[in-house]
């Protein structure tokens, strides 16, 4: 049986969720170790309070704020950085649009769960992703992927 002490702990410790449901922290890769940033999901324009597809998937624009990206050409034969939304199994990649240091809005994402991936590419509108990944993050809905992603297990301790 659970003790009063344990219960008190449960209620006394504030839960420090890393970000709101619309925010995605971005993590850099060894290709661009000084790059950093975050993304925010905002509903795409719609006549309604929210934007969804006919089957009910949320339709987002992604505001990507990054800094510290080197010139793409410093990584090889690349001219642009491009944001992609990929399914968690990496089978499907939707090109969202080119980004640069600063804040850029790209879209639309209509995947229930996705990885936000930023790659260096030969041009700003490549048909498929080919270049190296510089930043990546997981949509907040992706936290449902595994219970191990619960805030408790993401470094929040009692």
């Amino acid at each position: 049986m659970i003790g009063v002490r344990q219960l008190s702990l449960m209620f006394a410790v504030p839960l420090l969720i890393a970000a709101g449901p619309y925010d995605i922290p971005l993590f850099s890769t060894p290709k661009a170790p000084r790059a950093s940033g975050s993304a925010r999901l905002v509903f795409a324009q719609s006549p309604f309070g929210i934007s969804v597809t006919a089957d009910g998937r949320a339709q987002y624009d992604v505001q990507v704020a990054v800094s510290g990206l080197p010139s793409p050409s410093s990584l090889g034969a690349f001219r642009a950085y491009v944001a992609w939304a990929a399914t968690p199994d990496l089978q499907r990649w939707d090109r969202l649009g080119p980004i640069a240091n600063g804040t850029t809005t790209v879209g639309h994402v209509t995947l229930n769960k996705f990885l936000l991936v930023i790659t260096a590419e030969p041009d700003s509108a490549p048909r498929s992703h080919a270049g190296p990944t510089v930043l990546h993050g997981t949509s907040p809905s992706g936290w449902l992927q595994s219970f191990l992603n619960h805030p408790m297990f993401r470094g929040i301790t009692g």
Partner: protein, 564 residues
Amino acid sequence: MNGRAALVAISLGVPLAIGSAQQKRDPMSGMDHMQGMKHDSAGMPIPMPRGMPMIPGLIGLVPSGGTFVPGGGIDPARLPLAKPSQLLRLADGDTIDLTAMLVRRRIKGHEFAMYGFNGEVPGPLIRVPQNATIIARFHNRIDLPSAVHWHGVRLDNRSDGAPGVTQEPVAPGGSYVYRVHFPDAGIYWYHPHVREDVEQAMGLFGNMIVDSPDADYYGPANSEHALMLDDLLINADTLVPFGADGPDFALMGRVGNVLLTNGEPSYALHVRRGEVARFYLTNAASSRTYNLSFGGAQMKVIASDQSRFEHEELVPSVVLAPAERYVVDVRFARAGRYAIVNAVQAINHYKGEFEPEVDTLGFVTVDAAPVRADYGRAFATMRVNSAVTKDVDRYRGYFDKPPDKELTLTVQTTGLALATVQFMTIDTAYYAPVEWIDGMPDMNWLSTSKEVRWILRDDATGKENMDIDWHVARGSVVKLRLFNDPKSFHPMQHPIHLHGQRMLVIARDGVPTRNQVWKDTALIPVGSTVDLLIDASNPGDWMLHCHIAEHLGAGMMTVLHVDR
């Protein structure tokens, strides 16, 4: 052990952090609550969605407070069978009698004692010319106090039908006279503002269509149909009883398991090939947000609560939060059968997966014979309503001003069952901006307005709900910023409704809205910040509240005083 049981076991073994400072720190509350529960088998069991077992720690519990069923268990056979809504065309100065009464309804092979206006469900469809004034004599013949609110109509404050603010509730057997003036063309509805979670859910609602004198106000259509969308929560063969002292299902709202269109579980419409059908859609459900489409037929959205849009748009589906209305034109180009569906992505909380949830509301059968007057070309043209733009232009200068008022939408709970608290805590990993269905009806059922308090909090003063004393001068243009705090204990979307005025949704999450329409209800998703611009031109004391009936019943309301 299933996945959820495993999670509960983990939460019992680990000193969990709790999701919000809003949660009252009462470590023993869960235990006390369980001991204090009244056991009443009338409400058991609560129907659960497919593949979703009941939460182990909740089995055997029942909500605090007693239960209520309309008619007090009267045999439905003694009641008149509910009739479908009748069209009432009224002219300026006309008088109607509107009687709330017990009726018998047949739903999915069962008979229930429920409510209707004038014996009809929905109540009479009132159709009036713009600028008309009618007299509505309301007679309360149900077993609860009641009143009629004329939702979205910018009428005289005395006739707003808001008990506790503009009138006393009308006792059973009593009457009240309303004077309803219709200054704006559009689609409106009426419903009680007393125990909405019961009275509205049991069938007390009806539409009002206000016609512009401009015959070309909307584009041409071959036919017109008013659809009131609603859902009903039933057990195997009984209504799930309501809380006697206040709403149960207070966390998420009473989400029904039977979807109804104009009071019926299956809607049928016959049209001709090429027909443009105009649908006046109203979401009369307590809590459910709809995402409606017509079997892939082309759909154009032309108007919402209180006006047309600046310009028409083709849309894949129409999203309606509780109390919202949209006018859409749908063209059925080919012969065949079109399913009207509500399609959403539900979240299976046990598996942590999204799952498509599709409910068929009915069918539109399209004959092979072509429609006589083909409005295909007009339908394909997206009209630009410059009159709306001109009207909105008068307010654009206020779009960038700092907010006059900032409200945070949040929740406070106390005394919830321990398992509910633990479950919610784990669930804070992710909250969908809109929770489409109720994945956890058993814990929702156990949360009543005694344990749950939904809050509009004034950021400037810290005052909450009815303690907020907000006065503005008549003619003010007021910018209201609403933030739906995702870090609260159980964040939910809230359709916020303002009585007696009109407003524009000018920005969502800092992104300006591109196509304006005058609204009285706006959806605030979890985590979102929404800016509303209120045209406070109608003097009086006007309610501002969440239109999820259970959230309203759990405190989520305040009053905007528009001084003379």
